[in-house]
Point group: C2
Chain length 254, copies 2
DNA sequence: CGGCCTATTGACGCTACTCAACATGAGTGG
DNA sequence: CCACTCATGTTGAGTAGCGTCAATAGGCCG
């Protein structure tokens, strides 16, 4: 049964993909989408812990997450790692490798994950032929830079609770955009990963989760997070200077 | 006299520009460079403290720094700011605005600065016509993402001294690339800016500068920094996982 | 010369890290 | 099916690093 589903999803075209509005196909017409679809290589699902690419490997393709999630990190000489991002369906990976011809970071699946592979050479040619695709590509690249700016902002203004709040809100938004509940979701990453990403110790993250529960902000069971008081979470994150207007709008709408 | 020099530099073409190897013209042939040159608008110098663009303003152009330096920051609702980067000659600004049609950050000159304005519309067209330009553009964008990853790595691994060391090394490299001394340079930004950028308090930065002097690593007079012991600085920065191999090579060469 | 801004230095307190023990759940093999 | 192990997460105690507050020094400009 599972296999049938997987085979089916392997055949999914860009036209039929529910992520097309988030991903590269956005604003392409049918014939253009077919041409994009032609260069997309849909790979078999990769399991939790498998690498999509590793630092130093030759750069050939960009990847778009189709399902599951991926963490991207820089390994340090001391054998540790610094996570620079978590990627959800519809998001592009490997953008930092276009400068050189090798990957400057590694990407590993946090759960069973499927991706679309976009050979860079073909992408370049197609972007040349389809201005709309080029534009959308630049848009996604620009978005990546923007979200990293936001991350820098967060890491710059210390305060652990603010960082975690902003992180959770960010996830909440991204789940909502993808049609999932913004108030209840499963974290695909470990506490260790969260701590690493936010520049905190694991223990601090753990303590914050319990404190947020005591304050009635969250309910947490293992990796299942339920946001009980969105406004408190927003108030915390706003302290970091994160722009939460769209979330506030969402709250008042409901 | 000054005015004559300025007028002269205002007329500088991409072909004659000493930064062409760092900037967009790289790897373009003569005729292509002329076409790029045609769309470049060279603006009068902007003075220290003047804005190149501000958050919320409509996005029309990218900017390449020609001389001087620029700080880019996100203003927070609380009236503070988070600096996300300092830009030196040959570097592009405004990349994060391509997603929307408004700037998502502000850019202000740290000293008297000249920039080349690249109307985005024209850039897109020209990139379409000149694949080499498009490639170099993507390269610079990719480089931007890469350097922000490095920044995230630095802010993630705390330790104030390591951050400052990595920051100074980064500047040193960039000065060297531009033909200036990697061992002695003027900081165009205030201690306040450095602290903000590195996620530290001004006092901590100040204390670190004195400590680095006591340790014989630096000599600091106001904003003039002289690196006395590059290897110690590298040792500190490497602790952060910053890849310093190219700097080590440079040291052994000299 | 006086005012202002930037930078430095000192004293103190708090946040978050470290070390350590313990709890819980998942996966494995008998 | 249960006991075992390992990975993951939680909680506690102690501490160090860095931020905050405050005072002072030095440079720049009118």
């Amino acid at each position: 049964m599972n296999q049938i589903v997987n085979l089916k999803s392997l055949k999914t075209t860009c036209q039929a993909c529910s992520l097309s509005e988030l991903c590269l196909p956005r604003s392409l017409d049918d014939s253009e989408m077919v041409r994009l679809d032609d260069i997309v290589q849909r790979k078999r699902p990769i399991k939790k812990g498998e690498f999509l690419f590793q630092v130093g490997q030759p750069f050939r393709s960009l990847y778009a997450v189709r399902s599951g999630s991926v963490k991207v990190f820089l390994p340090t000489p001391s054998g540790e790692e610094q996570i620079v991002g978590f990627h959800m369906p519809g998001e592009l990976l490997g953008l930092d490798a276009m400068e050189h011809d090798t990957h400057s970071c590694s990407a590993v699946a946090l759960e069973t994950t499927t991706v679309c592979e976009l050979p860079y050479q073909n992408m370049q040619e197609l972007c040349h032929q389809i201005p709309g695709l080029n534009h959308q590509f630049m848009s996604l690249v620009s978005k990546e830079i923007g979200s990293e700016h936001e991350m820098l902002l967060m890491l710059g203004k210390k305060m652990a609770d603010v960082r975690l709040a902003a992180f959770l809100l960010n996830l909440s938004c991204r789940f909502r955009t993808r049609g999932f509940s913004p108030n209840e979701f499963n974290l695909s990453m470990s506490r260790h990963d969260i701590a690493n990403y936010l520049g905190l110790a694991v223990e601090t993250v753990s303590r914050l989760f319990t404190r947020f529960q005591e304050d009635g902000i969250l309910e947490v069971h293992r990796r299942l997070v339920t946001i009980r008081d969105m406004s408190k979470l927003v108030a915390l994150a706003e302290y970091a200077g994160i722009n939460c207007q769209h979330i506030k709008d969402m709250i008042s709408d409901s």
